[in-house]
């Protein structure tokens, strides 16, 4: 290896650490952003445990569990893509990213089905919440947090889909490859983070009261 190539490899590595540090910092921000919602959840679950248990029974357990599985498996593919792009295997990289992307899309589709179901069950907080039933008004708090937090998570999923689509485009055109692999790792970090958030949301909403 020539000397200039060694220097440029070192520069590239320094650059990669810098970008990764930036992403970790951003993820710290995200943790605190969701933290506000988790704080609200903790407070109200502590105050109204029965309402939250009842809320958990309104959730579509099967769909939620399927979604958890989808996200966890998609993260594996993103992790493989990171290795593949460094090894210069463009086809494998693209395949993994595309699989993860489709699984993310499926996640959102299932989420949409769940939302539709909640709307027709009159579980949307507000004036039309479970009319004719003298149900616990605290249940509205649970549903409010459910829509707020899963909605926010879904927004992050959409951002993730856009980012992965951008990655695939870059890999296809060759802008991202063995000589510049770090975007896959950095966006992968984000993808794993969004995955982790769901892993926390899942028990908070689907397993509570079960």
């Amino acid at each position: 290896m020539s000397e200039t190539a060694a220097v440029s490899a070192e520069v590239r590595e320094r650059h990669e650490i810098t970008t990764q540090l930036g992403m970790w910092g951003f993820l710290a921000t995200e943790v605190l952003f969701f933290g506000g919602f988790f704080m609200a959840y903790a407070l109200y679950r502590h105050s109204y445990p029965e309402a939250f248990a009842e809320g958990g029974r309104h959730m579509a357990f099967g769909l939620g569990t399927t979604n958890t599985a989808l996200l966890l498996i998609s993260s594996v593919f993103v992790a493989i893509a990171d290795r593949a792009v460094r090894a210069g295997r463009r086809g494998l990289t693209l395949g993994c990213l595309a699989t993860a992307w489709l699984m993310g899309l499926a996640f959102l589709g299932i989420k949409a089905i769940e939302y539709t179901q909640h709307v027709s069950d009159h579980l949307v907080p507000g004036r039309h919440f479970l009319p004719g039933q003298s149900s616990n008004p605290r249940l509205q708090l649970f549903m409010y947090l459910y829509f707020g937090m899963t909605g926010l998570h879904a927004f992050h999923m959409i951002m993730g889909l856009i980012a992965v689509a951008w990655l695939m485009n870059g890999v296809r055109s060759g802008r991202i490859g063995p000589s510049r692999p770090e975007p896959v790792a950095v966006i992968g970090l984000y993808w794993h983070f969004v995955d982790c958030v769901w892993v926390v949301l899942y028990p908070l909403f689907y397993l509570v009261g079960r």
Partner: protein, 527 residues
């Protein structure tokens, strides 16, 4: 020789990735917002000349103090030192060619302006009367006006803080010049570093809080809504979890600026460098744990009150230590009372008063009495205006030769600094007394007993106003017509003074190697 100020086209400024130009973009923007917010303050002070509030209706007055608060806090104080001086100086001080993510840096300015224009739109077309704190359920249910737009503006501008904070943290970690170890960093960099951590960790909580408030307003139901079992106090907890650290976002970089100035003009290394650096970190850390002291009378438990009172006293220890260290730095120095030093010592004096009155507020029974009165108003203006704005102006004067390559008229600048100091004290000291006597804040009219002190305060504000106008005028004039300054007019230490003034676009021809301890001044040498 080419400098970063060459190519003065609008397009080149709006698309620049140069941290120095972005710093100046912020300078113009925050000066603009400051002017509007100061005008709102002036209108309030004039209205308070009469106890019966004849000049403006209550609704107008309420919109004025909201405008003043929102613009001053989020569009002046928070970005002032980090985004203007920090952007300009941080890469120069650590010996880098730019920040770690230049494009993110420019994006942060655009996001900031987008937020600013949302807020301006809300103010111009109806206004908002919630106060800068947006307390629920008033903001979410009862207030009229563009609460949503205003909150959206603050929400959006929060991303500017986050982007800038991220950029600075990564820059300080990754782009320091060879030999520039952590304990060789100027205290200004320590201040910016701590501030950036707070920006990154606290701002998102504000974003979440405003989002929850906005959702509640939009859908008529929400998590702070007592009708479905929600707790309006949760909003306050979340809000102050951001906003208390946010006052440290405002003050810590100011402390950094003051350390730079005092050492330079007394020709001495700062007294207790490591203690100063750790004090900044301690304030940033403890600052996250004291939010509950804003809620001593809002029915939080007695136990919580006692704990937050204790922590609030503890966070004052490092601040007190810093004041003593600055004072001791002067001892056996070789002091020249130039304009930046007048501002810096003004900072130390006013910050001391602001900090000590903070002890009144941390003492539980006394806080019960003065909470929500003008005592609190005076306290935070002593810290924020007396402290932060003095530090900011000191910093602007100190680095003005570096930014513009020119000198300002020294005697006029000293006169302006003294005018500001006197005007400030006349404006805000009477408010301590008003507060202890029981005058509540956010009152558009007040009992006639409070008249005399309010008139005094308004008189002081007019002097303060003149004091602020002066630098605005002579600094603009000096930018074009001032005497050339040369690279280092103060004979100051620090990497930023080793490059020409104004610096070239790439800052350093060759990345420097640092071999000196910080503030390697010697009072016995004639500079």
């Amino acid at each position: 020789m080419s400098t970063y100020l060459d190519r003065p086209t609008v397009r080149s400024w709006l698309t620049t990735l140069d941290h120095k130009r972005i710093g100046l973009l912020y300078l113009f923007s925050i000066t603009f917002f400051f002017t509007i917010a100061a005008a709102a303050a002036a209108a309030m002070r004039i209205a308070l000349l009469s106890p019966s509030g004849d000049l403006v209706a209550s609704d107008v007055y309420n919109r004025l103090f909201t405008t003043h608060g929102v613009l001053m806090v989020w569009f002046f104080l928070i970005p002032a030192v980090p985004n203007v001086l920090g952007n300009f100086l941080l890469p120069l001080m650590v010996g880098a060619r730019d920040v770690a993510f230049p494009r993110l840096n420019l994006a942060s300015w655009y996001v900031f302006m987008a937020g600013g224009f949302l807020v301006l739109y809300a103010i111009l077309f109806g206004g908002v009367d919630t106060g800068w704190t947006f307390y629920t359920p008033y903001s979410s249910t009862y207030a009229n006006g563009h609460v949503m737009l205003m909150a959206a503006g603050v929400f959006v501008s929060g991303f500017s803080s986050i982007f800038t904070g991220l950029n600075f943290i990564v820059t300080i970690h990754r782009l320091r010049a060879p030999g520039l170890t952590w304990f060789r960093l100027p205290l200004f960099v320590w201040g910016i570093y701590s501030t950036s951590i707070i920006m990154v960790l606290a701002t998102p909580v504000l974003a979440a809080t405003l989002l929850l408030m906005g959702l509640e307003r939009a859908f008529g139901v929400g998590v702070f809504d007592p009708r479905i079992g929600g707790d309006p106090l949760l909003f306050q907890h979340l809000f102050w979890f951001y906003s208390h650290p946010a006052v440290y976002i405002m003050i810590l970089p100011g402390m950094g600026v003051v350390s730079e100035i005092i050492t330079c003009f007394s020709r001495k290394p700062v007294f207790g460098y490591k203690v100063m650096a750790f004090a900044i970190l301690a304030i940033a850390t403890l600052g996250f744990l004291v939010w509950g002291h804003h809620m001593f009378v809002s029915s939080e438990s007695v136990f919580a009150g006692v704990v937050f009172s204790f922590l609030s006293f503890m966070v004052s220890v490092p601040s007190a230590v810093k004041v003593f260290n600055w004072t001791t730095t002067l001892m056996r120095g070789s002091i020249r009372m130039d304009t930046p030093l007048i501002y810096a010592l003004g900072f130390v004096a006013l910050f001391t008063i602001g900090g000590l009155t903070g002890l009144f507020l941390a003492t539980l029974p006394v806080d019960v009495h003065v909470h929500g009165t003008y005592f609190v108003v005076a306290h935070f203006h002593y810290v924020m205006v007396g402290g932060m704005v003095m530090a900011y102006l000191g910093g602007v004067h100190y680095w003005f030769p570096k930014i513009s390559g020119r000198l300002y008229p020294e005697m006029l600048a000293r006169f302006a600094a003294l005018t500001i100091f006197i005007g400030f004290n006349l404006t805000f000291f009477p408010q301590f007394i008003l507060g202890y006597l029981g005058m509540p804040r956010r009152y558009s009219m007040y009992p006639p007993e409070f008249h005399a002190l309010n008139v005094l305060s308004t008189a002081g504000a007019s002097i303060l106003g003149v004091g602020y106008l002066l630098p605005l005028i002579y600094l603009v004039w000096s930018f074009y017509r001032g005497r050339p300054a040369g690279p280092n007019p103060w004979k100051a230490k620090g990497l930023e003074w080793t490059v020409p003034s104004p610096p070239p676009e790439h800052n350093f021809d060759a990345i420097p190697t640092v071999t000196e301890e910080p503030y390697a001044y010697n009072p016995e040498e004639d500079p």
